[in-house]
Symmetry: C2
Subunit: 365 residues, 2 copies
């Protein structure tokens, strides 16, 4: 593919997730990594060498230098959450398209600054939630939308947890309020909220009420929390996110006639083998209690995929950037809206915790 | 097996669940059905004929008549919940051992009358929660108790639902406050609460707080509700029960080092084939995010069983009755305690709903 049809990426920061992202860029058919920047040239050089990046990749000792590079079309920003507003806004102002790691901002006010900068400068925005781009996700949406089989959606539960161990609690940026102050709520609760909103086609709940048991560290960073979410039409959802237990990436979605479950939302169990699975069930005969046949084993659906979900995300982002860059189309708004609604609900859950577990109404501003 | 070593059962009522129970008695090695009573002789005769019961089974036109039958050692009571206190107390007073369907009573005060009558009259009490007797349940407890693999228990979620359809909402006894006024909370929330308590070795939570979205019918019977439960040591649990969605019998239990899940708690997917399964996972390497290998596929455990869980329940109950009857041992208290704690938490959830979703402290009276 000729250079002009490729989207040329720069990366701000050598976070662990950047390793995964470099690989995704190299696999996506329409992108190319051309620059990497870190706060020190030494760190950036070491990263480039460890990851075996091509000599053609420019290595910079500052984030600014990446933004100054005219060849860079788009930047991937995996910096700590508290730095997002600064660097995403600067990137947009330099005309760079923005692929921003989640959680996208400390709150919706910060996100609005980012989105406004993207809008004013005509650049594409997307957050780094990979699962939304896995072909499995579209297949699941088909299943949920089949009213004959699934009926009306009534209830969702999501559980996102992992136990990163004592070293993490001492040293991780996710434990430091000045860096990633949203803790488990931002890191993995983000996915629960997003999956819940995705399930209901991004209809915002009317209110949220955090469970009265959030665990916060000495700096008020959330280590474990959960919430119920309530819609005016009677739908409801609950989620639990925590850094205190073994890994779960669970979502259960219940309709009047069917159910859909998966246990590996954010990282498919066997993505490297090119597929994702989910289970779904419907059509049960409730008349047969005496025969013990009530609870049919769910159907396991296997969705094959050419790329892993991170590659799909990069490809989709690059496709959208390509349309802006070559066809002079307007940036696609969908991803800004998805991120903003997720952040609105996340903010409300945090507010509910801070207000001593009061119910918080969600108002679309 | 000679007659004297068998426990001779009478059944009060020809509910649908009685069909299942008759089969369980016929399969259990230490029991025999000898009497069935209904409010009308006609109904009881029809039931005996439809179920192909032996001519030796006495058929009575009243519940009293079963209790008056000196040959009856024990009674199974599947009557509507509101009638339990009357008939379980009468049964105990007649010296009959009591196997009582769940939910055991409308509230703990009623249950205490039943348990006192059993205690005073030296008869065995057990509620009809079959899953507790499946060999799978003991295997799951082994997995949870292995601190090397599971770590410390931190969080539990259970979801119990089914959608019995419009006919049920119009006519089921579970929709009538004078009969089964606990609705979905009693019918299936009972199992969620029991599974949660079972997970924590029956340690009562300090408080419960119902989710602010219970659905009640025009007679105040609960159609859908849920709650969070909180322990002093920081453990917590949530559950959701509903008659509005497709069937789920889910429990997820999370420890610091492992997880345990099953999706068919109350009725195993394939019980008729003689096994039950659960999935469990532990030992994950959180260092490998860039390789997408975080979320290992859980191990599926298959527990083979000679009998289905209903048969195991009847057998265990009859074993205990046999000890009282032949060895003059005292009745086993464990099952009274399990039922009572379940009812205490259930009462607290109901109270939380009635008080407009206030937190309710649980006090062991």
């Amino acid at each position: 593919m000729a250079d002009e049809t490729e989207v040329r990426f720069g990366i701000l920061g050598c976070a662990q997730i950047s390793i995964k992202f470099c690989k995704a860029i190299s696999k996506a058919p329409n992108t190319k990594l051309i620059a990497i920047g870190s706060r020190s040239l030494e760190k950036a050089t070491a990263f480039a060498s460890e990851q075996g990046l091509s000599d053609a990749v420019r290595v910079y000792g500052s984030y600014e230098a990446v933004l100054e590079d005219d060849k860079v079309d788009a930047v991937y920003i995996p910096l700590p959450t508290a730095l997002h507003v600064t660097w995403a806004v600067k990137a947009a102002e330099k005309g760079k398209h923005v692929l921003l790691e989640k959680p996208v901002a400390m709150n919706v006010a910060e996100l609005d600054q980012i989105l406004e900068a993207c809008e004013v400068n005509g650049v594409q925005f997307m957050d780094g939630s990979m699962w939304l781009h896995h072909p499995r996700t579209a297949k699941m949406k088909e299943a949920l939308s089949d009213e004959q089989r699934f009926g009306q959606l009534k209830w969702i539960h999501s559980c996102m947890t992992y136990n990163p161990g004592p070293e993490f609690f001492k040293n991780s940026i996710r434990m430091k309020p000045e860096l990633d102050g949203l803790g488990a709520l931002g890191d993995i609760g983000w996915y629960s909220i997003q999956a819940i909103l995705w399930s209901v086609n991004y209809q915002l709940p009317k209110s949220v009420l955090a469970f009265p048991n959030a665990t916060l560290n000495e700096n008020n960073v959330i280590i474990s929390c959960g919430s119920s979410l309530h819609w005016e039409d009677g739908k409801s959802a609950t989620f639990h996110c925590s850094f205190l237990t073994y890994v779960t990436f669970d979502v259960t979605i219940l309709g009047t006639k069917g159910s859909l479950r998966l246990h590996d939302l954010t990282l498919p169990f066997e993505e490297s083998f090119g597929y994702g699975t989910f289970s779904e069930s419907s059509e049960v005969d409730y008349g047969k209690i005496e025969q013990g046949m009530w609870c049919p084993k769910p159907n396991e659906h296997v969705v094959e995929t050419e790329f892993s979900q991170d590659v799909w995300m990069v490809k989709e982002f690059a496709d959208l950037v390509g349309k802006v860059k070559r066809l002079e189309m307007k940036p696609e708004k969908k991803w800004s809206i998805v991120s903003r609604k997720t952040q609105l609900v996340l903010d409300a859950v945090k507010e509910s915790i801070q207000r001593g577990y009061e119910s918080v109404e969600i108002v679309m501003k």
